[in-house]
């Protein structure tokens, strides 16, 4: 209870500090707009449809990238995990590639796929692929041997072994990979849109910044932040639901 109170107090303190900093003689309004117009603009964003076209572009890129990455990641992860030897060949390979900042590929994707949605989908897919594939391999290849032996002793065929033993045992780990992939796909698509794009939330924020409409820009940033937090909450919730019964 008192914890909540402290947190609320800090939040109010930040808002007050923001307000005071933007009083005349404070921070230049182009760098930090006063809070009240920002929240007014945010309200306008929520109640009008002006943001919908850009929102639609970003969401479409994000969903496409996530679907591609999770399909490819699960499939390749499954194929690799079928043999212990393949795991030892490919797992370090994927882990090594993962330590290259994939955003470096974005200029290449711009060259290949243009300024439109293609390059965003490509970067989102690339970045989301790794957590999915690494977790799929980890989940499927470290299933406790005792479960497999037990199932075989009871006569499980290979389809039953996969669907009733391997999958449920690996499921929580794969789910974590999917959650991470879902989030990083969204973040990297916003990043791609910020760097270079024709439409989308990131594009909107950048063009507002370039037109020095900082108050509008802050409202849009607020929108993206709210969206990221909601996405985070939703996928964490989905993961927790998916895990139930696995404790």
């Amino acid at each position: 209870m008192s914890k909540r109170l402290v947190q609320l107090g800090v939040l109010i303190a930040i808002l007050v500090a923001w307000y005071v900093a933007t009083l005349p003689g404070g921070v230049h309004p182009l760098l930090l707009p006063p809070p009240i117009p920002v929240f007014r603009n945010f309200g306008v964003l929520l109640t009008t449809s002006s943001i919908w076209p850009d929102l639609f572009v970003t969401v479409r890129e994000w969903v496409t990238a996530f679907c591609l990455a999770s399909t490819a990641g699960c499939l390749i992860g499954y194929l690799v995990s079928r043999s212990g030897y393949a795991v030892r060949v490919f797992d370090p390979l994927f882990a090594g590639l993962y330590s290259v900042p994939a955003i470096l590929l974005f200029p290449l994707y711009l060259l290949f796929f243009g300024l439109g949605a293609g390059s965003k989908i490509a970067i989102g897919t690339t970045i989301a692929f790794f957590p999915v594939v690494l977790n799929t391999i980890a989940g499927l290849s470290y299933v406790d041997k005792a479960y497999i032996t037990a199932a075989k002793s009871m006569g499980a065929n290979s389809a039953q072994l996969f669907w009733s033993v391997m999958m449920p045992a690996a499921f929580p780990v794969i789910l974590t990979g999917l959650r991470l992939g879902c989030i990083v796909a969204f973040l990297s698509i916003l990043g791609g849109e910020t760097i270079s794009s024709l439409a989308g939330l990131g594009h909107r924020i950048v063009s507002l910044a370039e037109n020095m409409e900082t108050s509008q820009m802050f409202a849009n940033i607020l929108f993206a932040v709210a969206m990221a937090i909601i996405i985070n909450g939703l996928v964490s919730f989905a993961e927790a639901r998916g895990r139930r019964g696995f404790q």
């Binding site: 914890k3 030892r88 490919f90 470096l104 910020t194 990131g202 910044a209 820009m217 849009n220």
Partner: protein, 255 residues
């Protein structure tokens, strides 16, 4: 199951063969089937390295990027650990500030990138600041988690033996925190690299972003590939450096 009669090649060698095979595939397909305006064979990218390194302005841009990465990393680690310890060791600040930190951490940072450029201009300052804004949060969060993992019985035991606050810090808290420090450094490095590179690519009028755009618009993929390969090599070196340190220091610490 087939543990007994393993394949002839060790996994490392097969991995190398896979990589070589992919490069050969790329070489052949780029040489014979691809549009040279968009894709170049890896051999040409390697040749283009010479061009990249013979151009003082490009070398300068790369140097500046490395400087930005290292500076942003050092600042992130120094500030992040101090803040993390301050937050973690104090019940009140933890309640008050940690949620704020987590909230800031949850912001999709790319959206505030234009703000950094508005505030700090297109030079290294904006990129360093953006790098720090990426790197500092994982360091703080890992440090706080490290403090949380401190086992209370250890502290009680030390206090029962009459240890002073200073002794508690140097002989218990600090040694206990070492693995989290290094984990924080590794995560911080990954984030800093992302932040600096995002900012470099965003600013297309100077630095790396200018050259990637130039090479793309002038349709010279070999130069683009070479530049990206150089940056990737730098990033991997920095990442692996942190990873190696983490491994070494967690090992002797592990009990």
């Amino acid at each position: 199951m087939s543990e007994r009669r393993g394949p002839l090649l060790s996994p490392g060698i097969t991995r190398l063969l896979v990589i070589i095979g992919l490069l050969v595939l790329w070489e052949v397909s780029a040489r014979f089937y691809a549009d040279p305006l968009f894709l170049c064979p890896p051999s040409q990218a390697v040749m283009a390295l010479k061009h990249i390194f013979s151009e003082p302005k490009i070398v300068k841009a790369i140097e500046i990027t490395v400087y930005e990465m290292v500076t942003a990393f050092l600042v992130s680690v120094a500030f992040g650990m101090t803040v993390g310890l301050a937050i973690g060791l104090h019940g009140f600040t933890k309640q008050a500030i940690l949620p704020v930190v987590l909230l800031l951490y949850a912001i999709p940072q790319a959206t505030i990138l234009p703000l950094f450029v508005l505030s700090f201009g297109i030079g290294p300052a904006a990129k360093i600041a953006f790098g720090i804004s990426h790197g500092i949060f994982p360091v703080i969060v890992t440090t706080v988690a490290g403090v949380q993992n401190l086992r209370a019985p250890l502290l009680t035991a030390a206090k029962s033996m009459g240890a002073s606050r200073f002794q508690v810090f140097t002989s218990i808290i600090f040694p206990h925190m070492i693995p989290s420090f290094f984990t924080g450094m590794r995560l911080g490095m990954t984030a800093v690299l992302l932040g600096v590179l995002l900012a470099e690519l965003y600013v297309s009028t100077a630095g790396i972003g200018f050259y990637t755009r130039l090479f793309a618009e002038s349709f010279s993929p070999p130069d683009l590939f070479a530049l990206i390969a150089v940056l990737a090599a730098i990033a991997v070196t920095l990442n692996e450096g942190c990873r190696t340190m983490e491994r070494r220091f967690s090992r002797w610490h592990a009990m």
